[in-house]
Symmetry: C2
Subunit: 83 residues, 2 copies
């Protein structure tokens, strides 16, 4: 499982859209607080692998591409434990 | 905006994986309770339009394909108002 503390350090960029508290600043973006970590990882991988090609994917793919598998696990752990 | 009551009537199928309370029964699936309705609609449309092609999309695409735009708005309203 991921390391939420390491995820927190990595989440500064994510917070710009998904909110510092995991509640998205823009209604068209997903809240991440309390989301299933396994789902967050699979969504990030789908963006990275080009399996998501919607308009939002154009924003998320470059972000996900910069993340290692460990980064994804840590970010997922960080957001999953947010209430 | 969608009609949460109409969404509730439509959500029986969704509940099988996303939970009757919007908390996914399988950790690899997303929780929907309290998610942004606008995001839920865009995700459903992405599945319906084939803009999501991950393994999970194989499950979600047939579901989303059966939904009208109004169904999507109603389901999104239903899950967004869940606490």
């Amino acid at each position: 499982a991921g390391d939420a503390e390491a995820g927190k350090a990595k989440a500064a960029i994510c917070a710009a859209c998904h909110g510092a508290n995991g509640i998205a600043v823009i209604p068209g973006y997903p809240n991440l607080a309390g989301q299933n970590s396994q789902y967050i990882v699979s969504a990030l991988k789908a963006y990275k692998n080009g399996e998501r090609t919607s308009a939002q994917a154009a924003i998320m793919k470059p972000q996900a591409t910069m993340l290692s598998d460990a980064d994804m696990e840590n970010l997922a752990a960080y957001y999953a434990q947010m209430k």
